[in-house]
Amino acid sequence: MDYTDKVMENFQNPKHVGELSDANGVGQVGSPACGDIMKIFLKIDDDGIIQDASFKTFGCGAAIASSSMATDMIIGMNIEEAAKLKNSEVVEALGGLPNEKIHCSVLAAEAIQAAIDDYKKGATA
């Protein structure tokens, strides 16, 4: 598997691993059959700004690196901006992903959207 240095760096020393105990938005996407499950935790303040983010991922090197990069990218964003994060932006930040691993970056973007949806459900409830 040809991974970029950036991917390997994020796989070896991933940022934001684990659960946020005070998360108010949690999203999980993926499928065990396909070998990827991604769970994203968000701490969103009253102004809709993502104060902190973390992840837990079952998956390959690309899935773990995508989780690390994506969580790092959205910290400090407001949720409208973060919901629009494109998987291609994650891929670009990682210096590229092999073709068959692009879906890992899609999963990261979807997990963030799911976590934001979860927050919105809670916020309006």
């Binding site: 999980q28 499928s31 065990p32 059959a33 070998g35 499950i37 090197g61 899935a63 068959e100 879906h103």
Partner: protein, 401 residues
């Protein structure tokens, strides 16, 4: 960093004695063995010596050994050649669900051409049932192809018993012995095998060399058409250096078989026991005793195989996995699914295959590293004993299919 190579089922490093033979032919023997002049006759001797070495290694006659370009070619030839030769007699073939893709994809190809294939299931250890086999043989069955030993989980099939059943029914029996050759004793006379595939690079020989044993009297169509090489059965100017090297590798494999397999088995059992004792939630795939001496196959719950491989690689260890992420497809290994593992568990597989140069220190280091790697990856995983994989919630997974 010191590298520890534990993927001998994928390929093996070339033996120095094999290298010596191979480079000598490359450097000094450029003749074509089909030529009648001195250069041709000279190199032909090496080809025939190799044929003798390989025949001896499996107790065959020298006229029963045909060189091919790979183990896959030998498998393709055996299946397609027997199928085409016997298609007027019948169009039914029996094989197993856990064969190498060289067999499975060849059978699928024949299915498109009107052949019918029965894929025998296996039990949790990867063994076929002899009763299933007996029940599957029909009047129009022309070929049974069952692998000697499985490449992923190392399970050794009851080849002698299979050979007896198949012979009694008058059906042709092929076995893919690519993984078994050089690791377990093989005697084609004792086993009642009609065709047997082997490969050089799994026994410390060069890549791009295989051979098919075809029992005398077994009629088969050619796969490669052209010149009169290999007793008019396999065209193409001989890979003289590769053939000579294969012969040497086979000779060495047989001379050292007992000693090597004992060495492999000791280290194999040490690795299995060490990992099972130090890491929770792990299962051994394959049969506990009826397995190749150098094969270890685990599934670690809650984590995925490719991330284990990458972590091992960073620690200097080369291994392999049946995870989808390492195969370029979305499906985990067909072998792990056939022994009944759920897809989610099969993704966490790790295969370590030991070789003759592996040491006890290597195994100790691997166990030590695995403990750290598995724990680290599990900490990162959203699934654990309290949230098992099958209960996990999945949204938006549709893009995968």
């Amino acid at each position: 960093m010191k590298r520890i190579y534990l993927d001998h089922a994928a390929t093996t490093p070339i033996d120095p004695q094999v290298y010596e033979v191979m480079t000598k032919i490359l450097a000094e023997e450029y003749g074509n063995p089909s030529s009648i002049y001195s250069e041709g006759r000279s190199v032909k001797k090496y080809v025939e010596t190799a044929r003798e070495q390989i025949a001896k290694a499996i107790n065959a006659d020298i006229r029963e050994i045909y060189f091919t370009g790979s183990g896959s070619e030998a498998d393709n030839w055996a299946i397609k050649g027997i199928a085409m030769k016997n298609r007027a007699k019948g169009k039914h073939i029996i094989t197993t669900q856990i064969e190498h893709h060289a067999i499975l994809h060849t059978c699928e190809y024949l299915e498109k051409d009107g052949f019918e294939v029965t894929y025998l299931p296996v039990d949790e250890f990867g063994l076929i049932s002899l009763d299933d086999l007996k029940a599957a043989i029909r009047k129009d069955t022309i070929l049974v192809s069952i692998m000697f030993a499985n490449n992923e989980i190392g399970t050794i099939e009851p080849i002698k018993e299979i050979g007896e059943i198949v012979k009694e029914k008058g059906v042709i029996f092929h076995t893919d012995a690519v993984q078994a050759f050089g690791n377990v004793p093989i005697d084609v006379k004792d086993l009642n095998v009609d065709l047997l595939s082997i490969s050089a690079h799994k026994i410390y020989g060069p890549k791009g060399m295989g051979a098919l044993f075809i029992r005398k009297g077994v009629l088969i169509d050619n796969l490669i058409h052209g010149g009169a090489q290999e007793r008019k059965k396999r065209a193409g100017t001989e890979n003289t250096a590769g053939i000579a090297a294969f012969g040497k590798a086979a000779e060495l494999a047989v001379i050292n078989l007992e000693e090597n397999s004992k060495h492999l088995q000791t280290l194999r059992d040490m690795l299995i026991e060490g990992v099972m004792a130090k890491i929770p939630q792990v299962r051994l795939n394959g049969h506990p005793t009826k397995r190749l001496p150098g094969n270890v196959s685990f599934c670690f719950d809650y984590i995925e195989g490719e991330s284990i491989l990458l972590s091992l690689d960073l620690a200097g260890i080369a291994a392999s996995s049946g995870s989808a992420c390492t195969s370029g497809s979305l499906d985990p290994s067909h072998v792990l699914l056939a022994i009944g593992l759920p897809a989610g568990v099969a993704h966490g597989s790790l295969r370590l295959t030991i070789g003759k140069h592996t040491s006890q220190e290597d195994i100790e280091y691997v166990i030590e590293q695995l403990v750290v790697i598995i724990e680290r990856l599990r900490k990162m995983s959203p699934i654990d004993v309290n949230c098992p994989i099958d209960d996990a919630v999945f949204e938006d997974a549709g893009h995968h299919h």
